[in-house]
């Protein structure tokens, strides 16, 4: 489990999921694909970490899920943001902004 270029920076996966879901409700693969595409292939999220993270977030109340049919008429579990999730995204984004700015300052110093 060493650090691998494809792995998401530790502790940021939930934030990325929240951000992705903030656009629209999606199923699990949709989230993984969106993260991969937007990051231009830097981050690859496999289901072994994505799905447990979604379950944890669901239990924590920041997302909720619902079975819907997909565009090609199959059943899939769609995840969507709750009010609590929106707030969590805002908090985590601003915290992350502060942290990266601080790290950047340290690295430039």
């Amino acid at each position: 489990m060493g650090s691998n270029p494809g792995d998401v920076v530790q502790g940021t996966l939930e934030m990325l999921i929240l951000k992705t879901l903030a656009l629209e409700p999606m199923h699990g693969y949709g989230v993984a694909l969106r993260i991969e595409q937007v990051s231009e292939g830097v981050f690859r999220v496999n289901p072994g970490s994505l799905l447990p993270a979604l379950l944890r977030m669901e239990r924590a109340g920041s997302v909720k899920s619902e079975w819907r049919s997909t565009e090609n008429n199959r059943r899939a579990k769609y995840y969507m943001l709750t009010a609590r999730g929106r707030k969590a995204l805002k908090d985590e984004t601003s915290a992350w902004g502060r942290q990266t700015a601080a790290i950047a300052r340290i690295l430039e110093a």
């Binding site: 693969y29 289901p47 799905l51 447990p52 379950l55 924590a60």
Partner: protein
């Protein structure tokens, strides 16, 4: 809210396992389908797309495992799995499980049983409001009616003084008093119409006299009705009201819900029932047999059947006093010292005002030093605590040690099992199990054992506590102790069980987790077992050595207590101890007047001496050995006492045949005989101690003496000297002074108080009553009991016999705690020895099994059987030597703590120590000999073929 969704989602997942599993599968399938779809759109062939998607996802089971671990319910599932696994493991080795559970049940059960008693006797607070504020004035242990002592000596006070304190409690919130003894009274419950029914049979029950503010100051609320108040106790002779104990109300009055306002008769006088106390309340003084009812002190003459003790400016000392401290005095020492000081001032002032003008400077000095200490009564005053407190503490240590020995055994068993399970553990580690999970599984197994053991122990403790309470109660019908465990006891048992599990489970668990995977999988099982290294072999041996040490300690303790009991039983008591039957009777309760006693006594003596198998019969006030005594200061013309000298002497009044019946020999002069009647010269017999002290020249016979108690003042002429007897306690080292008076020569009328107005008619003298029949039989005295009862009933069927016992039982009563402690320490020492033997045998046999191939090689190379035997035996002997080497000094140090409990021997008793050493050594040799023999019989061919 978050926590609730988490919990409810987890619970749903646990209860709907099937659905959750299906949904998970569906989601994964959807995931992979979408992934394949995406890859196809990107231009891969369907086969390739499916292959890449599967590689990306990895094993679906691993993904599912990851998802499951994200919820808390998985931890519970794992726990449940481990528990089932452990239960299966335990069921597969029933021998181990049974021995483990049995030793745990005995260990934990013993601890729980003793703790149940300790909790009730030593730890429990009084069930009243703020019990920590209560203090007794002086020790409230003594009881009786005394005269001629200083205020507060023996914790006793006269009525007038307690009244004075009650009205002006100074810095205290309040001060109350109660009679120092609870004599049995004759009670007749009310009939159907609510009036006491004189024809219904009387019940004998202890009654406690208390001041009107007793319940207010002690802080107890009645269960129903009201408690006593100041008005009830205002005027002597009035206030015929009574508060019942819950037990009496429940058992003798069938919990009559309409009891309030009905009348019960006490000693023939009607009393109105005004209240019932709660079940847990037994008064400030926790007596073995708690009071059935409480009546105001103002009704003393009726309840005690004695002339009034409630006199205005003087009087007998018979009350105990307690107070409720102010909040400040409870919290800080300075305020407490002020309360103490105030009390001492009150006492000194009262003594001065009573002794008046005749005060010498020495006496002034003495008075200014008199102090009556305030003693905390948070847990009440308990006779049981005084009697059994030390015994119970020692027993608690003993059962604690036994539990430690049992723990050591189990730790050893588990260590051995951990060694045999190395391959299994190594396999599990290699397959990806975490060390944490292995330790957890191992601990779950030990906790299962200790909790089941604790549960069994709880059942065992209940039975054992019942037996112990029966023993402690000496056959009293009801005592205020309960074998059922309360919350404190349950918490104690749970705590002990968990601690035990941790104690014997932690080391094996850690060793199990240290197992390396690779090394153990590659080696053969035998070599793996013997490759544990020095450390793995050190712990079992250290534990066995500790067991040897502790067994030695327990054996020596048991031996010392056993020898103490033997010494107490076999010493010379100075009176007959085999053929006496003694019976207490109470003619006062049957309505006799003092003037009727000579006729009654005469009839009893005649009727009883005619019984078959009876050698002689006598009457007395107290038996040859008795805890309570009639005593007084005496005055011997011609003997000048030293200043402050205590001339207090125990008195007994006896019929003419007492000395020959009780077997007390006369060393000079003559005994009291039937010719010493009322109109003849008043005579007395003294014991050797009195003779030596007051008549050092040896001229006692023929001299006279006077007694401080007015009603039997004398002068009495000494006609004989009787042998010294152990009259108050088998352990007494200093013989008590004894003075015997002829029952027939007690004056019919009481002495008239010289300060009383002229013309006062003297009352009848209550000292004419005997209290005891002594019967000397030719055969076993217990066989005469039926005839004896019948004969007494033929004289007067209403004469209550309050207690019948052989002299042996009477003496044993004084040694009950010695019997208890020697029986129990003996039992536990043997149990400890057995456990240690099992432990030693187990470790040694396991060592032999472990070394089978090594021994096989030795024998194949020509080692003699005796050499092999000695190899095993020598190892055990070394352990024994170390155990004894460390154990002896430890035991020697520990026995010093119990020296005060011993009698007739020192803590270092060579005989006891040698026997204990021999027993421990033989046990070790026996436990080691069997494995040694097995080692010498190892067949080299079989041993070497195994691996």
């Amino acid at each position: 809210m978050g926590i609730f969704t988490r919990i409810s989602a987890g619970l749903r997942a646990l209860t709907n396992r099937g659905r959750v599993e299906r949904e998970m599968d569906e989601e994964l399938r959807g995931f992979i389908d979408a992934s394949i779809e995406q890859k196809r759109r990107a231009g891969l062939t369907p086969d390739e797309a499916a292959r890449v998607a599967r590689i990306e996802m990895g094993s679906p089971n691993a993904v599912k495992h990851h998802i499951r671990s994200a919820g808390w319910e998985t931890a519970i599932e794992n726990l449940w799995q481990d528990t089932r696994f452990s239960l299966r493991g335990l069921a597969k080795s029933p021998g181990f499980t049974v021995i483990a559970l049995l030793s745990l049940a005995l260990g934990i059960g013993g601890n729980t049983a003793i703790f149940t008693l300790i909790n009730q006797v030593l730890l429990r607070n009084l069930p009243v409001r703020n019990p920590e504020q209560l203090v007794t004035f002086g020790r409230n242990n003594g009881s009786g009616i005394a005269g001629g002592i200083d205020l507060g000596s023996y914790g006793l006070f006269p009525w007038y003084f307690t009244r004075h304190l009650q009205q002006d409690p100074g810095p205290f919130q309040g001060i109350a008093s109660y009679c120092s003894f609870s004599d049995k009274v004759s009670i007749r419950p009310p009939s159907a119409n609510g009036v006491s029914d004189m024809s219904s049979p009387a019940i004998l029950g202890p009654a406690s006299l208390v001041s009107g503010n007793y319940f207010t100051i002690i802080g107890a609320q009645p269960f129903m009705g009201r408690a006593l108040n100041l008005t009830d106790d205002a005027t002597p002779g009035t206030g015929a009201v009574v508060v019942l104990s819950h037990h009496f109300w429940q058992h003798s009055l069938s919990s009559d819900p309409a009891i309030l306002g009905k009348t019960i008769s006490i000693n023939g006088t009607p009393f109105a029932v005004i209240g019932v106390m709660p079940e847990a309340f037994h008064g400030l003084k926790q007596e073995l047999e708690p009071p059935d009812l409480w009546a105001p002190i103002s009704m003393q003459t009726v309840v005690l059947k004695q002339p009034t003790l409630l006199t205005a400016n003087d009087g007998a000392y018979f009350l105990h006093v307690f107070g409720r401290l102010s909040k400040e005095a409870t919290a800080n020492q300075g305020a407490l010292a002020q309360s103490q000081n105030w009390l001492d001032q009150q006492i000194r002032a009262d003594i001065r005002s009573h002794e008046g003008a005749k005060l010498t400077p020495e006496r002034q000095q003495e008075i200014s030093r008199i102090t009556v200490p305030l003693i905390s009564a948070t847990r009440g005053v308990s006779t049981l605590r005084n009697r059994y407190g030390g015994t119970l503490t020692i027993l608690m240590c003993v059962v604690g040690l036994v539990l430690l020995i049992a723990c050591a055994n189990l730790a050893n068993f588990l260590l051995a099992r951990a060694a045999t399970r190395r391959r299994e553990i190594a396999t599990r580690l290699a397959l990806g199990s975490s060390r944490g999970r292995i330790v957890r599984q191992s601990l779950i197994e030990t906790f299962l054992l200790s909790l089941f053991g604790g549960l069994l122990g709880l059942g065992l403790a209940f039975a054992a506590t019942r037996a112990l309470i029966t023993f402690v109660s000496h056959g009293s019908a009801y005592i205020a102790m309960d074998p059922a465990p309360d919350a404190v006891v349950l918490a104690f048992t749970l705590g002990v069980s968990l601690l035990t599990g941790l104690l014997f489970g932690l080391a094996p668990a850690i060793i199990a987790a240290r197992t390396g995977a690779a090394a153990n999988l590659s080696a053969g099982s035998r070599t793996a077992q013997s490759s544990g290294g020095k450390q793995a072999r050190f712990w079992p041996k250290a534990l066995v050595t500790a067991q040897v040490m502790l067994s030695l300690l327990l054996l020596v303790g048991a031996g010392l207590f056993l020898r103490t009991l033997r010494n107490l039983e076999n010493q010379d008591y100075g009176f007959e101890r085999t053929h006496l039957l003694i019976a207490n009777f109470n003619a006062k309760l049957a309505g006799y007047k003092p003037s009727q006693t000579p006729a009654l006594h005469q009839q009893l003596l005649e009727r009883l001496s005619a019984l078959p198998g009876v050698q002689s019969v006598a009457l007395a006030l107290t038996p040859p050995i008795s805890a309570g005594n009639w005593s007084s200061n005496i005055d011997v013309p011609g003997y000048t006492p030293a200043p402050k000298e205590n001339t207090n002497t125990n008195l007994n009044r006896v019929s003419g045949t007492y000395f020959q019946t009780a077997g007390i020999s006369i060393v000079a002069g003559r005994a009291i005989n039937d010719a010493d009647t009322l109109n003849r010269q008043k005579v007395a017999v003294i014991n050797q101690t009195v003779a030596k002290h007051f008549f050092p020249k040896g001229d006692a016979v023929g001299r006279t003496l006077l007694i401080g108690i007015g009603d039997v003042k004398g002068p009495w002429q000494i006609v004989g000297i009787a042998r010294d007897t152990k009259s108050s306690d088998p352990r007494e080292t200093e013989t008590q002074r004894m003075l015997y008076l002829p029952l027939a020569q007690i004056e019919p009328l009481s002495a008239v108080d010289p300060t009383a107005p002229t013309g006062t008619v003297p009352e009848e003298n209550q000292d004419r009553f005997a209290g005891l029949i002594v019967l000397r039989t030719t055969g076993d005295p217990a066989h005469s009991i039926i005839d004896f009862r019948a004969a007494v009933a033929s004289v007067d069927p209403n004469l209550p016999l309050t207690k019948i016992a052989t002299i042996r039982e009477e003496v044993e009563d004084f040694m009950s705690h010695d019997q208890l402690i020697s029986t129990l320490t003996g039992f536990f020492a043997l149990l400890a020895l057995l456990l240690a033997a099992i432990g030693l045998y187990g470790v040694m046999s396991y060592n032999v099994v472990r070394r089978t191939s090594e021994i096989g090689i030795r024998i194949a190379l020509g080692a003699q059987k005796s050499v092999v035997q000695w190899m095993v035996l020598g190892e055990s002997l070394l352990l024994l030597a170390i155990g004894v080497g460390v154990g002896l000094p430890l035991t020697y140090a520990a026995t010093h703590y119990i020296e005060s409990q011993l009698f007739g021997l020192r803590a270092f008793d060579p005989l006891t120590f040698s026997i204990a050493l021999i027993v421990v050594s033989s046990m070790t040799l026996l436990a080691a000999w069997l494995p040694a023999r097995r080692a010498s019989r190892v067949d080299p061919m079989v041993a070497l073929r195994c691996d």
